[in-house]
Point group: C2
Chain length 274, copies 2
């Protein structure tokens, strides 16, 4: 039986209805959160899903969100306007806001959409490659004890490289790095919209340093989608090089199973405080 219902958890969680010109409504769904607040990558994908419809082009070539307030589950709206529609790209600006009560703004976003269908075929410089990872079966799936509030990790199949995974048991590697495989738990393949989720789905790289453990709130996240991913799990590497004045950057590279770079991302976040 064919219905209009989304065929995956992720598609259901980013479903939006047209509610007027440049305005879409939907929900921050439960189950994509950490301790009740929706994950930042999921929120970016939700906003990106709305702005993609406003843009009318398939791939978020570059998207930036400023994170203004945490998002519990509940009704939201995405609004966007076209800043420029060009020959190759459409740039849109917009917001994701709660449509409960006061209509608190969650994300302010600007993004340029295009069509990356064949982008992987033309590599002129590749100074780097995917992280070396044991086969997924040899990596521990990242789950935490029941009641830890990591609902997001039930939606995802995130398998950390064993040397980066010890932080869960307080055996930190001493390097601000997290490497691993990422797939959806229900097997949905990644497309360029789902790469926005992948860009902020790993535990913070600084959890592998001897620093106070705590929230690492994102101030701003920018994702460059560099190619359409092939089916199969993603190979990801996240790292931090500079923590200064209470801020840190986290850089990410996302590679597909063919070894094609499919996204680069960087966020500015607040360093965890004691």
């Amino acid at each position: 039986v064919t219905t209009g219902a989304p065929s995956s958890e992720f598609d259901a969680a980013i479903a939006l209805d047209e509610a007027g010109p440049g305005r879409l409504t939907g929900h921050v769904h439960p189950g994509w959160d950490i301790a009740g607040n929706a994950n930042g990558g999921y929120l970016l994908a939700l906003a990106g899903a709305g702005l993609r419809r406003v843009a009318g082009r398939p791939d978020p070539v570059t998207i930036t969100a400023h994170y203004l307030s945490p998002a519990p589950a509940g009704p939201i709206e995405v609004t966007g306007e076209v800043a420029k529609q060009g020959r190759r790209f459409t740039t849109v600006a917009g917001s994701l806001r709660s449509s409960d009560g006061e209509g608190r703004e969650i994300l302010r976003v600007v993004a340029t959409f295009g069509d990356l269908a064949e982008a992987h075929a033309d590599q002129q410089l590749l100074d780097g490659g995917p992280p070396e990872l044991p086969e997924p079966a040899s990596c521990a799936r990242h789950v935490l004890p029941e009641g830890s509030g990591l609902a997001l990790m039930e939606r995802l199949d995130l398998r950390l490289r064993p040397d980066d995974a010890g932080f869960v048991l307080d055996r930190r590697s001493g390097r601000a790095e997290m490497r691993g495989w990422l797939a959806f738990a229900d097997g949905r393949p990644f497309d360029t919209l789902a790469l926005l989720l992948a860009s902020d789905a790993f535990p913070p790289a600084v959890f592998n340093l001897d620093l106070p453990r705590g929230w690492v709130p994102t101030v701003e996240l920018t994702v460059h989608v560099r190619a359409v991913p092939a089916p199969g799990p993603l190979r990801c590497r996240f790292s931090t090089r500079f923590i200064q004045g209470g801020f840190l950057e986290e850089d990410g590279e996302v590679w597909d199973e063919r070894g094609v770079l499919v996204a680069q991302c960087r966020q500015l976040a607040l360093a965890p405080r004691a």
Copy 2:
């Protein structure tokens, strides 16, 4: 004689007048261009100068611009609105547009402003340092023959590390890297606004590769200002690791004379075409 006139070329070039709530007017000044189109770093500083006034906080902690059209010299306006005014940060969104004729939009911008006065004092992780550079006197000042249209390089004192500078004479290093000192030609010290100019003032790193030479148009540029720079020339390093599907990223690190990381930046640009 004290007048209200700006005391440096850069301050004159980013001077803006209040023209209404969230609206400032000024000019894209001649002399900050390459072949008649204003430099992308200068444009970001001009937009940043306007949005800083809208935000009412001194430092652009993170700012992203999408580059929509080239900007010849002429009258412009910067418009901005506050998305969120928080305890530590103010996030603003806005535009830089030509106020000639059709009012073409040049940049679409979102930025979060804060106060970085003491940010350098608290370094918890520094995995990297400033590029090694010979003293400025041992680096060639980057100038091109008269008539080459690099007016920007008369405003700046940009001294490339000799091994990165040969591309001017077609002796390319083969590494997508540009390192060097940066100062204003008139000696103005860098503040956090001027760091936005520094983030896109160097020749493209890919000019040191064996690729067709040509425009490398910025699609999007994000700058994280990580500290208030000390007086003195900046030590900068720009590099590109991936060119794929007609896109490249260029990453920059900007360090001050004390060896403090003052900015990190990344742009997505179009690869030069034959």
